[in-house]
């Protein structure tokens, strides 16, 4: 009994978010163009990435207006994915250190991770 005949929202909200996406993309590009480094670089890249992703999923893909059951089923597993990603990052770092210990340094210059 699908009764969702398509909740229509004023098109203006889509235009605003669309504009915002351009702004965030511009800022993301600036992070590289202005050659930010280190923690500032990573946190800004991730911030803009998650903001853009959030707006695309929430507004363009309509998730903000869906029922909680659908939100949980679709957004829950990616949270588990994030845990997996953290575990893999930790393991990769360990692998890197182990390789250094057993095989030695390859590039004497700072490694661009």
């Amino acid at each position: 009994m699908a009764q969702d005949s398509g909740q229509q929202h004023p098109i203006s909200i889509y235009m605003w978010i669309w504009g915002l996406l351009f702004v965030f993309s511009f800022f993301s590009y600036m992070v590289d163009y202005l050659d930010f480094q280190g923690l500032m670089r990573w946190s800004l890249i991730l911030l803009f990435m998650f903001l853009k992703a959030g707006f695309i999923v929430g507004i363009f893909m309509h998730m903000a207006w869906e029922r909680l059951a659908l939100k949980m089923v679709i957004l829950g597993p990616p949270v588990a994915l994030c845990v997996f990603i953290v575990l893999m990052a930790l393991e990769a770092d360990y692998t890197f250190l182990t390789r250094i210990v057993f095989f030695g340094e390859i590039t004497p210059l700072a490694v661009h991770h």
Binding site: Y14, F22, M49, V57, L68, L81, R99, T107
Partner: protein
């Protein structure tokens, strides 16, 4: 604001966590959306796992490689007779994909307003943006291959760069290409009145939109992790 979800006997379904319990304990269906929409979301979830695996393995390989990773802003810079501009092609590609998401959102809106002509042209515009994106990606591939990037080695840094790059952008480009075809098929069906005959239901445009926004979403992650990082 959203209309209240109803059971088939007309009772209002609760919202929030009580709503989750009500939905999952329902006797006929869990999700109060058309089945096509639910299925597209579930497909996109599976696709998230696929891209998640690729991006995670790229991360793992990059962190654990002893060799220095090629610097993206150098590798992907283009010069138009002057100083190389870092990531200019990627910036344009991002711009194109975001534009396509905008035209898609408008198409969905027009679809629900039953404006078949505007829906058709907006979907065609979205597909055109997508085709532009894939062509630019193909150009980037030829440029890198000319410069000697191979899945097993490259002159700029760690040998694993090529395989991760081609695999991830290749899969994404494939999804964009499939999306372009999907968009055009649905657009022409809208134009030819196929959905009018089927009862005037234009949810298919929204479902197509979900797929297309997903393609843009994946690019947001690729852009951040591959090109900016």
């Amino acid at each position: 604001m959203p209309e209240a979800a109803l059971t088939d006997t007309g009772d209002i379904l609760p919202e929030g966590t009580r709503g989750v319990v009500a939905d999952f304990s329902a006797d006929k269906q869990t999700f109060q959306v058309p089945w096509g929409k639910a299925m597209m979301w579930i497909f996109l979830l599976s696709d998230t796992f696929i891209f998640g695996c690729f991006l995670t393995s790229y991360m793992t390989v990059r962190i654990s490689a002893r060799d220095a990773w090629p610097v993206p802003s150098e590798v992907f810079a283009l010069s138009f007779g002057g100083e190389p501009i870092p990531l200019i092609l990627i910036a344009i590609m991002t711009f194109i994909l975001i534009s396509s998401s905008g035209t898609m959102a408008m198409a969905v809106n027009m679809g629900y307003r039953k404006d078949r002509n505007k829906t058709f042209w907006l979907m065609v515009a979205t597909a055109a943006f997508g085709a532009m994106f894939v062509s630019m990606q193909a150009f980037e591939w030829t440029k890198l291959i000319e410069e000697g990037v191979r899945p097993w080695a490259n002159p700029m840094g760690a040998a694993q760069f090529g395989s991760t790059f081609f695999m991830i952008t290749g899969f994404h480009g494939l999804h964009v290409s499939a999306g372009v075809i999907y968009l055009l098929v649905v657009a022409f069906r809208v134009k030819n009145g196929v959905y009018e005959k089927r009862g005037g239901n234009y949810e298919i445009v929204e479902i197509t939109g979900l797929y297309w926004h997903f393609v843009d979403l994946v690019w947001v992650f690729i852009f951040a992790f591959f090109y900016l990082w």
